[in-house]
Symmetry: C2
Subunit: 224 residues, 2 copies
């Protein structure tokens, strides 16, 4: 796929690394989806490497996971920047400095500046715990609770490209889970999270290998 | 399940018939879901019988299917009634006369009078060709086209209880189908229709045997 973030294949970091495409993973918390990506790479199901982990918060488990894998980390916390634009510029600089080709939001709890989206058009993936367009979130999403309350019998998760519209970018992949009669929000959320851990690495693989193109709101693949 | 339509188990028609619960199936067109119900009954996957087929249109294939199975038919066309209320009263009278316990809308192209819903509270099923709440329809629904245009990777169908809100009644069952890169609206619609033919008889079976109860917007089953 093309690389708007670097202009060159893989950039400096990839040239110095294994030659596989570099991912930039943005996190805010426990990092279970980061771990799922790293597991898929280790199992050789995903031909990529994580070039940098950027967290919006200090002291979160996701940073420990990154450190344990010798992955460079950066904390870019909103309070350290005078404006959202400057926070966004720091994110873009960190991603480009790490030669990142594809950005993955893995439980990243910020909606970032449009300049980040412009720097990586259709090269930022987010995962959302519902079958979008149902139960889109916004700033304080509770899609699992909303799905349970709505009485749906199937829910799931969605990987989509990030655009300026929250939870409305073109959909890359979806996975379904059943909603059971005795579900609590916690139980349903855990089942969806397990599906996310399978879907996200697979969606990254398809985007890296499948030559995605966006037609209208559809993401179509040449292969994969 | 309880029988608000008759007050007595099965009513006159059932007492005169096989003792299995009587369905009232409302149609407007080709009747492929009516055929799926009849096939499931013949395969003994569904312990029910179709007590009456009511069509909002004359001359549709669904009426031929009913006649071929010796099922009583009625055409209750809007133009024959001075008001929606009187049309609804005719529908309720026909259903009750046939001892109908559970009403199934199978491609029925009318939104009927609230009095019909009140006569059969939580005893009317509709099937909708999307994973509700996504792509709810209204009077001129095109959920398959909307799903394709929205770029979802999964769609499907939903069986729900009919309430006064269009496409918003409590959900009984859902089934998923993939949306493929080379889909047309027609191809996706056919794939969803095939899923409807499996889901609708199974949903009827669950409602007849599973003692459904509605809690909030959720339909919960004791068994099945």
């Amino acid at each position: 796929m093309a690389e708007p973030g670097t202009g060159e294949s893989g950039g400096d970091a990839a040239a110095a690394g294994q030659g596989t495409p570099a991912l930039g993973v943005l996190v805010s918390g426990r990092g279970s989806n980061l771990r799922a990506i790293l597991d898929a790479i280790e199992r050789r199901e995903l031909a990529a490497r994580v070039g940098i982990v950027i967290s919006s918060r200090t002291g979160v488990p996701a940073l420990d996971i990154a450190a344990a894998h010798d992955i460079p980390t950066r904390v870019i916390a909103p309070r350290d920047y005078p404006s959202r634009a400057e926070e966004g510029a720091a994110i873009v600089a960190a991603l480009r400095g790490a030669g990142v080709e594809l950005v993955v939001l893995a439980g990243y709890a910020r909606i970032f500046d449009p300049s980040v989206v412009r720097a990586y058009p259709h090269h930022i993936l987010n995962i959302h715990p519902s079958l979008l367009p149902a139960f889109a979130g916004g700033m304080a999403p509770k899609p699992q609770a909303d799905a349970l309350a709505a009485g749906v019998k199937l829910s799931g998760c969605t990987v989509h490209f990030v655009t300026d519209e929250v939870d409305a970018g073109p959909i890359v992949a979806q996975a379904v889970v059943p909603v059971l009669d005795d579900d609590t929000v916690e139980r349903l959320a855990e089942r969806i999270l397990a599906a996310e851990h399978r879907l996200l690495p697979e969606a990254i693989r398809r985007v890296l290998e499948g030559h995605p193109r966006v037609e209208g709101r559809r993401v179509l693949f040449d292969q994969g």
